[in-house]
Symmetry: C2
């Protein structure tokens, strides 16, 4: 254990990197996938089960937690780790993205955003300073700068103005964060899909100086090709000796492509949200458990998967409990999906360490192209 | 392990008994509380978690399973144990009670009951013979006779006629069940709250001969006093060398009173259903986690409880996740409730074995009378 936050690069393969982030609360193996625990729970999972899938770190949502149960309350109760019974690292977002997508009656100024809670309509304010304070109250290990994401599509001028305000907010976030040994502050690159804006944003962030750098404003509907287009150059604009975090990504093939392009950390609600709607992700692609063809199928989701859903249950059972709207359906499918995502990350890390990422990626695509084995 | 079904009485204390039921799938310690796994899942729990609470046996509902996913399908998939990933004993009810309380378009004759599924309106028939066949297809370890429960309130004549038909159905169930080593068939005493009808029913069942005897038609709204009134004599009408099962009971104080009166087995949805609606059962009584007074309370539900909800989480957290409608709320509260019920059974068994049941019961009531410790 360490009392400091540090990033160690162990190996590279092309642009891809593997290493580890050490924090006082434990080590994060990179590339890392972070399950999302929005409201102090990864939905349908106990934290020990999340850990059992191989997760080293969770993400918590500042916007949700500040509204319910409230950051001061969580602080009084000993912080978010103790509150949700997860003693390993937690990254919190800044609330900037959610406030623009979920809250009502938003008013955006240079100072920050005033808004109405989507839960009870109560009035709140988020700014770089209040976001830093809320994330401090939560006890977050990795704190994100407060930034602003323009609604897409937006013209270049709008994106540029938004990015520049986010960079001013990044400086205010840095100033408000102060010196907190063992805790990290990450800057967030913006600039949409325009290279010169991305480069300008990267330079602004590097001039301020952060413990890690996120790539924001992607995975918001621009499509994989446009996203990969940005990722072809964006990670290279950021310091090589700091972790690079791609926010809100993604599907397994998004993850693989991002890792190939030099991304170290990602988060997404996809595996848990899909699990609750009957979607299973496997090495062979997606499977919709509510489909009638699974009703009599004695096989597991994936015969080679060691998760509890695959070792204990048939597709027929998973189909039945989904149809019967039983909670065990979401519990088992979420577990499977998180397990699969973590297995994918472990495979990527091992492949990079062995200098065999190209082979791993070729296998990954070949297995998916093979598709699910036919129904009985 | 044994290849036969057998009941061994280890100790008595007053009318209360403790012992064990041995089956090829494992031993059931009595008095036993059976969690209800209606649709092939104890709601909000994985089966290994149900086992971890101390449960030796689960109950499955024939009515639900025959309609969805269907008994033939479960048989093709290897039986209910394999389907739901529970390799210990399972008791299935006969479908008689649920068909009268849930199904539509019921038509009751001497032959049996025709009805419409509450799920999709499809037409079905249950009789002693079809119920035995369905429970055989499910692979149930303890099969219940198909019986009929009159809707209450009912006059004595109606109750008597219904009971006598149930006794004819008990004979047909016995004949249809045949000889199935390792599997047990239980008869069900009926007769409402009228002692002479209960005695007549017991005599009819004993004349047929069963592996165990249930007391049916109670816990249907008659109140604890009337139920205990029947239990003051009904267990004594049944053979002492066979297990006695009180169906559908109950609250902790119902369980304690039933055990004092000579009952060996019980089942109830209460701990799991309560868990999903925010009710926690503890040694000190009930606690409604949605109450605002828990919002800042750092204490566990019960500081002396070793379940995951009590060892990992504050009341404040449980309150938060209930309010936020997170699945972990039902998962943790159900686990706690099932754990508490099984701890209660373990306490009753140990007290009977030690000849100290009166002290145990006095403590049980004293703790509850003390009530929950005050809010902060």
């Amino acid at each position: 254990m360490t009392d400091r936050f540090s990033f160690t690069l162990d190996a590279t393969d092309g642009k891809a990197r593997t290493g580890r982030i050490d924090t006082p609360r434990g080590t994060i193996r990179t590339p890392a996938f972070m399950p999302v625990g929005t409201a102090a729970t990864v939905k349908a999972m106990l934290p020990e089960s999340v850990r059992a899938t191989g997760a080293d770190i969770l993400l918590g949502n500042t916007y949700h937690l500040m509204l319910r149960p409230g950051a001061e309350r969580i602080a009084r109760l000993g912080g978010l780790h103790r509150f949700m019974n997860w003693d390993r690292p937690i990254l919190t977002d800044s609330g900037g993205f959610q406030v623009m997508s979920l809250a009502g009656l938003r008013k955006l100024t240079e100072e920050g955003v005033t808004f109405a809670s989507h839960i009870d309509g109560s009035k709140h304010m988020l700014s770089p300073e209040t976001s830093m304070e809320i994330q401090r109250l939560l006890g977050s290990d990795i704190v994100m700068c407060f930034d602003e994401c323009p609604a897409l599509p937006a013209d270049k001028q709008t994106v540029a103005a938004s990015m520049r305000m986010s960079m001013r907010w990044a400086q205010r976030s840095r100033d408000a964060f102060g010196d907190r040994p063992g805790h990290a502050l990450f800057g967030i690159m913006q600039g949409g899909v325009t290279r010169e804006l991305r480069e300008e944003s990267a330079e602004a962030l590097k001039a301020i100086g952060f413990d890690g750098y996120a790539i924001g404003g992607l995975a918001v509907g621009e499509g994989q090709e446009a996203m990969f287009g940005v990722l072809d150059y964006a990670p290279g604009c950021l310091p090589a000796d700091k972790p690079r975090y791609l926010m809100g990504v993604g599907k397994p093939d998004d993850i693989v492509g991002a890792v190939q392009r030099g991304v170290d950390m990602m988060d997404c609600v996809l595996p848990s949200r899909s699990g609750r709607t009957g979607q299973a992700w496997t090495r062979r692609g997606q499977l919709n458990i509510k489909n009638a063809r699974h009703a009599d199928d004695p096989r597991p989701l994936d015969a080679d998967c060691s998760c509890p859903a695959c070792t204990g249950y048939s597709r027929a059972y998973l189909h039945h409990v989904f149809r019967a709207q039983e909670m065990i359906s979401g519990m088992l499918l979420t577990w499977h999906n998180l397990h699969y995502f973590q297995e994918l990350m472990a495979g990527l890390r091992a492949a990079i360490a062995a200098g065999m990422l190209d082979d791993f990626v070729a296998d990954f695509h070949a297995q998916r192209a093979g598709g699910d084995i036919p129904p009985l």
